[in-house]
């Protein structure tokens, strides 16, 4: 069965796009059939994969606005086993264009449900907000991963994020679960960071067996180390596995993706 994962954090610059691209690319290299979906008008995921928003044709914007457009019309094959539904800046207009449509939270799931079983994984890169685009991603997703930095200020807002997931679970998608946190830009020599991570581990531990949507959540390992190569790769339209396949960032994302795949086959 297809595993549908939304990469969610309303805080900006925490590693959502970098994680969606590189976990997706690692899974595709491991032979999984993967679809990446760019839900952000900033189009960083699309840019990261080398897709040009000017020339690409139909995107997630047209997919969600126009009943005639199918997922096949927008999908781009970017690597072996790796498809991408790209976005461009016009997607920013969608929220106001759909504001009074009764099915405005279902625009994405309507287009995906017929073709879902072609994929082992569908990974959705969310914008840094809890608005209509994110809600569409959450209506389609089965699980949420939260990319996060291990810093004090970066941790603020986690409570609100979990609260939103909780509301979405009650409203739009009762089966949605938070399966974990991806630690990004991790600096292990910092005691402060280790304390923040210990707090997170403890928080999740204390929620085991509850009926919260994060009852089975955990901090995924390995953390993704800070590695400048991960910031350089997108400027060439490359994943880390194109750009520097054995650098620390690549090792970490590859290991993380492998564990996610094993965990699923262990189910």
């Amino acid at each position: 069965a297809t595993r549908v994962i939304a990469f969610l954090n309303q805080k900006g610059g925490v590693g959502k796009t970098t994680s969606t691209v590189n976990i997706g690319a690692a899974m595709a290299e491991a032979g999984q059939s993967v679809c990446l979906v760019d839900m952000d008008p900033q189009s960083h995921l699309s840019l990261h994969l080398g897709i040009d928003g000017e020339t690409v044709g139909d995107t997630v914007y047209e997919l969600m606005l126009d009943p005639e457009v199918t997922l096949d019309d927008v999908l781009v094959k970017v690597r072996p086993n790796l498809m991408c539904a790209p976005s461009r800046i016009d997607l920013a207009a969608l929220e106001s264009e759909l504001v009074s449509q009764p099915d405005r939270h279902q625009r994405l799931i309507q287009k995906f449900t017929p073709v879902m079983d072609q994929y082992d994984y569908v990974l959705l890169d969310c914008p840094p907000s809890l608005g209509l685009l994110t809600l569409n991603a959450l209506a389609l997703a089965q699980e949420v991963l939260v990319p996060m930095q291990g810093h004090f200020l970066a941790m603020q807002g986690v409570g609100k994020l979990l609260e939103t997931v909780g509301l979405v679970c009650q409203g739009v998608n009762p089966d949605l679960k938070v399966s974990g946190v991806v630690l990004c830009m991790y600096e292990k020599q910092s005691m402060h960071v280790r304390e923040v991570v210990a707090d997170l581990d403890e928080f999740f531990e204390s929620n085991r067996g509850s009926d919260a949507p994060w009852a089975d959540a955990k901090v995924l390992r390995p953390a993704i180390r800070k590695n400048i190569k991960l910031a350089e790769a997108p400027s060439f339209g490359q994943t880390i596995f194109d750009y520097a396949p054995w650098c620390p960032g690549a090792l970490d994302y590859r290991t993380l993706a492998e564990r996610m795949i094993q965990e699923r086959s262990g189910e």
Copy 2:
């Protein structure tokens, strides 16, 4: 004359709050009279200075909503020469509460103009968006500093940001100027980062003598090096000058603030 500076970037997590707090604190230590304004419902600037949103009393929210509330009612003295107008999460409601008010962009400037000359510097920490809160900050500001990371993805959106400043200049505040970019979390060993910065220098150079609001803008030096101490300080409610006054992050912000002060007295 008071210098009023808005720290602006719609991208999240680029160093706006860290820069507003530490440049302000450095200026206050150098004897300047400084007022810091938290325009973000996330209240990271307020947290960073050790202010508790639960117990603080009136904030920027009440200041902008209620004609009876004065700036003095909300100001908190946080250090010698350093005042703060804090925020709390309720500020998130302001945009919808004021949506049909004709003076909704002037709510901040109305409260500041009477008391401006008490300060050498007013520094405004903007949220990561170009909405009503940011527009109020820009209506009051004379200049904009753009904190930025020297990464490819972090650079996307600079064009849109400058375009917005341009629109605000024509509409809300004809005197507004972009005076520069603050490079945050700078990693000088990366060739990629040096290339991005060279592009930025070149862009500003090519705009000299134009009538764009960024005609006199430049990349400020020094860049602020990546230094974990800057991420640790806020968890103790401390500026970098309380927490680790001689660490690389403190050296960089102190030098940057000194140059900003000298530049002004050179006018």
